[in-house]
């Protein structure tokens, strides 16, 4: 990870007497995907709007690249904002939409044309650039919505629930793209209320509920708070007791037993220890047929922290 690109300190915002966001502080580094996880109404979108300069915080500050978002209009050149709902003109073509938004980010002429081509290619829409947006499927509109946030090569990409209402194929494509943005060194702030998305793409996760950031860290760090362990389940042919004994010899394995025709292994970090467990099984001469790593998930973390399941 690089240096912090986004820094939010003590953000607070109220609407009337209702506190929407209360003392939220977070930071995202270049090349990092930060997931802001929480149910609908938790304060994710309000936080994002303050980060993008669309709402002034009542208290606290936001800086991107060390520059204040509230005070410097030019900082918005560093931010790519992808709103939750598709924000495009349906009566314009994809290329016209991107061209219009690109001009607002001071792109002109050949550079603009090249950026539009690049954004369309990145979202697999190059063959539909000349078509009106109202002829697109929901998934295509979502991808174009993201393309519009990438035109000006932002250093921070803010994605507000980009996969809501899209089919699994488009969701997969969007998540693949987000991972690609990280590889390009972009900092990504990603809000979602889908646990599996946060687990799949985010390097770190912040859990927000009732406007407060109640926990933050890597998935591993959050899971560790629960005190629950990972479990590796090995299905094998042959002497399962010998296999269990071999696994117990691996450093980090806390327990291994035979149950339901398989070896159940309790470990701290299942993914990290898996290669050593497999190697131990090979040394024991017991061929492994299948492996399953069962980890406590963020859903369990959320339940633990808030006392409620994540509401859709």
């Amino acid at each position: 990870m690089g240096e912090d690109l986004l820094r939010c300190d003590g953000l607070r915002r109220t609407f009337g007497g209702r506190v929407a966001v209360d003392d939220v502080s977070l930071h995202v580094a270049a090349g990092e995907i930060y997931g802001l996880l929480g149910p609908n109404g938790a304060g994710k979108t309000t936080t994002i709007k303050m980060i993008c300069g669309l709402l002034d915080p009542d208290a606290g500050s936001v800086s991107v690249g060390g520059r204040s978002v509230e005070r410097e209009l030019a900082v918005r050149m560093l931010i790519g904002y992808v709103p939750q709902d598709v924000a495009l003109y349906p009566d314009l073509t994809a290329r016209e939409n991107l061209g219009f938004l690109g001009r607002l980010y001071h792109l002109r002429g050949r550079e603009l044309s090249a950026r539009v081509d690049e954004a369309l290619e990145l979202t697999d829409l190059q063959s539909r650039g000349g078509d009106r947006v109202d002829s697109f499927s929901g998934g295509m509109k979502r991808r174009l919505n993201i393309a519009a946030g990438l035109l000006h090569h932002p250093r921070l990409l803010v994605l507000d629930e980009p996969t809501v209402g899209v089919d699994p194929q488009s969701r997969h494509a969007i998540l693949e793209r987000v991972a690609e943005f990280r590889r390009r060194g972009m900092a990504v702030l990603y809000t979602t209320h889908y646990m599996e998305e946060a687990e799949r793409v985010c390097d770190r996760v912040g859990i927000i509920d009732h406007g407060r950031l109640i926990a933050e860290g890597t998935r591993r760090e959050l899971v560790d708070r629960l005190g629950q362990k990972d479990r590796i389940e090995l299905s094998a042919e042959g002497d399962l007791d010998a296999l269990a004994a071999a696994c117990r010899s691996v450093a980090g394995v806390e327990a291994a037993s035979v149950s339901d025709g398989a070896v159940q292994i309790v470990v701290g970090d299942g993914r990290r220890l898996l290669p050593e467990v497999i190697e131990a099984a090979e040394h024991a001469g017991v061929p492994v047929r299948s492996v399953d790593v069962v980890e406590p998930d963020l859903e369990a973390v959320f339940l633990h922290l808030t006392g409620t399941a994540l509401r859709e």
């Binding site: 904002y81 003109y89 219009f100 607002l104 519009a148």
Partner: protein
């Protein structure tokens, strides 16, 4: 400023792609102006045929017929001789003439006696105007005749010899003050219906820009585009200014095209081009101000549509876009001066009738810009209030 142009350019592109906007901005005003001009053609002038049954054939009857043939009445009536009162009544009943005037036998001779004969006007209930004009001419003639008779009688009573009566009668006739009636200001030309309804309809449909643009603002907002634009390095004012600029350009082009087409195709007179252009520019400024007002007053697209409809039709009705203001009651003519479209129509009709240029439209332009300034200030105040709420 660059972002203002980008936003205005995008809005204009969308507007040009929207066929309904083209129909309302160009096709409908031209078509309706043509239809209304055709419907009201003839209403701006009145002419009828007057039947004259001269049974007297005396000098006064001849003098009356001469009056009917004078130049001043040529544009209003044409006379046709009728044999007798019965023929006059039949001609009126059969709609062959608009009205008839019967000069009874012995009318000239009786005028000099103490028992004059009466002129009879035969009128048609379906053509009251012709009857009224004929009655007015007859009354005027009789009044003049009575004045002559009174002056001769006075001279005779004062001791003039009776043998001088004929000479005194002729002398009295030469002393009449000539009278010429005109129905418009001195130096003005007649306003054709097409010259009124072409600008009236162009302005009426220009007012629809208020509804179009305020609606488009809320559609943009509901689609998240206003927020997306605000997330870019764009000052909030640039969004409003961009939309205002697109309204301005579209409005100016729309009025310009309609003026050219109605002038070339239907002979509409928009007056001095420079004066008309300045007037139209001022009017478009007022439309921009009114659009801003509607946007600041409304909270939703539906509210914007409702408020815009009230504004558009209220202004059109008060401003005289549907009826000739000159034929409207005085209260309507006064109320029209509370509207920018009313002032614009007044300025354009003045250009077409009185003539002149910038001087003719100076007052209407000042009034429209004053209206725009007041509306703009109110909009700004409402916008500030909304932000701080």
């Amino acid at each position: 400023m660059r972002n203002v142009l980008v936003i205005a350019g995008k809005d204009l592109r969308q507007r040009l792609r929207d066929r309904s906007a083209l129909v309302i901005g160009l096709v409908a005003p031209i078509a309706i102006a043509a239809l209304m001009s055709a419907a009201f053609r003839g209403a701006e002038t009145f002419h009828f045929t007057l039947g004259v049954a001269d049974v007297d054939h005396g000098p006064l009857a001849t003098a009356l017929v001469d009056v009917l043939h004078q130049d001043g009445l040529a544009g209003v009536l044409t006379t046709t001789p009728l044999a007798d009162p019965a023929a006059a009544r039949a001609a009126v009943r059969d709609k062959k003439v608009g009205a008839a005037l019967v000069v009874p036998q012995g009318f000239s001779a009786a005028a000099a006696s103490g028992h004059p004969e009466a002129l009879t006007v035969v009128t048609d209930v379906d053509n009251a105007t012709a009857g009224s004009i004929t009655s007015a001419i007859a009354s005027s003639f009789v009044a003049q005749l009575d004045a002559d008779r009174l002056s001769v009688a006075t001279a005779l009573a004062a001791g003039a010899p009776a043998s001088e009566a004929a000479r005194l009668q002729a002398l009295a006739a030469t002393l009449r003050i000539p009278l010429r009636t005109v129905d418009r200001p001195l130096g003005a030309s007649e306003l054709a219906a097409v010259s009124y309804y072409s600008p009236a309809m162009a302005i009426f449909f220009l007012l629809f820009m208020i509804a179009f643009t305020s609606r488009s603002y809320f559609v943009d907002r509901d689609q998240g585009m206003i927020e997306r634009i605000r997330a870019a390095p764009v000052r909030p004012g640039a969004i409003v200014l961009g939309k205002a600029l697109s309204v301005f350009v579209y409005g100016v082009v729309s009025l310009g095209v309609i003026a050219v087409v109605t002038s070339a195709a239907f002979g509409a007179d928009w007056g001095d081009p420079l004066g008309a252009a300045v007037l139209c520019l001022a009017l478009v400024v007022s439309v921009v101000a009114l659009t801003t007002l509607v946007i600041t007053l409304a909270r939703t697209q539906r509210q914007a549509e409702g408020i815009a409809s009230i504004v558009v039709f209220g202004l059109a009705l008060l401003g005289g876009n549907f009826v000739f203001l000159s034929a409207a009651p005085p209260i309507m003519r006064t109320l029209a001066l509370a509207t920018p479209n009313g002032w614009a129509l007044r300025g354009l009709t003045d250009l077409a009738t009185v003539g002149g240029g910038l001087g003719t439209v100076a007052l209407p332009v000042a009034a429209i810009l004053g209206f725009s300034a007041v509306v703009g200030l109110v909009s700004g105040w409402l916008a500030t209030k909304a932000v701080t709420r």
